[in-house]
């Protein structure tokens, strides 16, 4: 039997696959291949998009998008059926022009995740029907989950400095 890793390596170019964990498969890929890879995996039975995440590698000047897919297995099925239970797909996009394609056509439930990534990291997902704010109510110059967003600075500038206990004692006198 050909393993999933071998199949993927023969069908796609430029994949870096790490399978040292028994039930995980970490795949590093070029950003162009993500959509075809996701639809390939969906056809292969990995029909559940568990999450979409993002890491800000500020030193490299890249955002790393992470798509985690797994199979909807039922408790009655033989669990050995799917050899790797979770597949983690990682791809890097430029931090300067942070844009990517939406995967909603393949996995409908990517919608809120991509909306959140848009809000928190400022990534534009082309083809996403509603990139409106999800959680936040204020406008941020730098999207708040980026590494260069200084939380302390932001709080001081927006809400004013909180006086120290000594200063407050002085004020009371």
């Amino acid at each position: 039997m050909v393993s999933l890793k071998e199949k993927l390596l023969s069908d796609f170019e430029g994949l870096k696959i790490d399978d040292r964990e028994a039930d995980r498969l970490f795949i590093d890929t070029q950003k162009e291949a993500v959509l075809s890879l996701l639809s390939y995996l969906k056809k292969a039975g990995y029909n559940h998009l568990a999450m979409v995440s993002c890491t800000d590698w500020i030193d490299e000047g890249k955002f790393e998008l992470v798509y985690i897919v797994n199979a909807y297995l039922s408790g009655d099925q033989v669990f050995g059926k799917k050899e790797k239970k979770c597949i983690v797909i990682r791809t890097k996009i430029s931090r300067q022009s942070a844009r990517f394609m939406t995967v909603m056509e393949i996995f409908e439930n990517a919608e809120p995740y991509e909306r959140e990534m848009h809000e928190m990291f400022g990534i534009d997902f082309e083809g996403h029907p509603r990139l409106t704010p999800l959680m936040l109510e204020r406008d941020y110059k730098i999207p708040p989950f980026r590494k260069d967003f200084d939380t302390l600075n932001y709080v001081n500038n927006t809400f004013g400095k909180i006086p120290s206990i000594e200063q407050r004692k002085e004020g009371l006198k």
């Binding site: 568990a50 995440s53 983690v88 708040p144």
Partner: protein, 366 residues
């Protein structure tokens, strides 16, 4: 008929926590619903990047107010995976018992919320009282009633006190003895069935398409449970069933929750029977102030009482996490499934459907 926009929430009976929803209604039928979270957004994931691995425990449990224990578990599992720590045998059992206790307490809270919402006040009081009995057990074990901070990477903070398992069994028998009363007054009550049956139907195809997990999927006949698919802790040591229902409506979802709660109690008995009598409950970990974890990333998942709970965690080799992202079951249920399930339903059923999806608002916002 004229279409109107109706703001529902953020304070309403359909949700534990604050969460609003904008409804487009025609008469009393809902044409379109759009969820509006963010009232409880505290930026925990960002805050965790600035605190050490161990300092984050008081934060993770606050992500889900109703059952903080699975949040602790998933975070501890993430750190263990990245640092390559193993949990000792007895520690695994203690963890599993603790998490099943949390599941029962959380489902009792869910029963309270549902009964309270529909006006079954007696049942609501029972459920709250029985949850309180379990909170007493948590207090004895951990010193706290709601946020226990009991799990830690490598195991648990302390072993069970003397005679704890006997008292736990006694408490569970006390709660279990009330199940026929719960059935008669609530689960099989015709008034309740009239409100909940054939309401908010999410069929299996829709549920799979929208990424539903947990009881929403179990109510459509899919026994999708991480404890079976990818057993963690001591779940591969015992035999247990996943209870499913077929219809996918609000009533099936609640019955799936009830069955899971009863199964959890049986699981606790089995775990106590099989637990090694002696042994360590925690692996020694480095000094938390100087603890650095090798660079890498990990995805771990467990079955919380609401469904598959995941955590993607990245370390850059430092003393703090580089990135933490929780994938909570309520996120999918509250934002994707809820919007779909509300379409075409009446305004009076909004709270009913929301609560049957068992969404906890702080878990969405994090």
């Amino acid at each position: 008929m004229r279409e109107l926009e109706l703001y529902y929430g953020p304070q309403h009976l359909g949700m534990v926590g604050n969460f609003s929803i904008t409804l487009q209604v025609e008469g009393d039928r809902i044409v379109k619903a759009s969820a509006n979270p963010g009232y409880l957004h505290r930026g925990f994931e960002k805050l965790m990047e600035q605190r050490t691995w161990m300092q984050n425990f008081p934060l993770v449990c606050r992500i889900n107010v109703v059952e903080p224990d699975h949040m602790e578990l998933i975070y501890a599992m993430g750190v263990e995976k990245l640092a390559g720590i193993e949990v000792p045998e007895r520690g695994k059992y203690v963890r599993s018992i603790y998490c099943e206790m949390a599941r029962v307490a959380s489902h009792l809270f869910g029963a309270w919320a549902y009964a309270n919402m529909l006006g079954f006040d007696t049942v609501a009081h029972w459920a709250m009282y029985h949850r309180d009995l379990l909170l007493d057990m948590f207090e004895e074990l951990t010193g706290a009633r709601v946020y226990h901070i009991y799990l830690r990477p490598g195991g648990v903070r302390r072993d069970f006190p003397d005679g704890f398992t006997d008292r736990l069994v006694e408490t569970l028998h006390k709660i279990g003895g009330k199940v026929p009363d719960y059935n008669a007054t609530f689960f099989e009550n015709s008034l309740f069935r009239k409100r909940a049956e054939c309401v908010g139907i999410v069929n299996r195809e829709e549920a799979l398409r929208m990424g539903a997990v947990g009881h929403t999927l179990k109510a459509t006949g899919m026994a999708y449970d991480i404890r079976k698919i990818e057993p963690y802790d001591a779940y591969d040591q015992i035999d247990f069933d996943i209870h499913t229902r077929e219809k996918g409506d609000a009533y099936s979802r609640l019955l799936a929750i009830r069955d899971e709660m009863i199964e959890s109690v049986h699981m606790i008995f089995k775990l106590i029977d099989k637990m090694p009598a002696q042994g360590e409950v925690c692996t020694k970990t480095p000094n938390p102030f100087k603890w650095t974890i090798p660079a890498g990333d990990a995805y771990v998942r467990c079955e919380s009482s609401r469904g598959e709970l995941g955590l993607y965690m990245v370390s850059d080799g430092g003393s703090k996490p580089y990135r933490v992202h929780f994938n909570t079951p309520s996120y999918n249920h509250g934002l994707t499934v809820l919007e779909k399930a509300l379409e075409g339903e009446s305004i009076s059923d909004v709270g009913n459907i929301m609560i049957s999806l068992y969404v906890v608002a702080p878990e969405i916002d994090r």
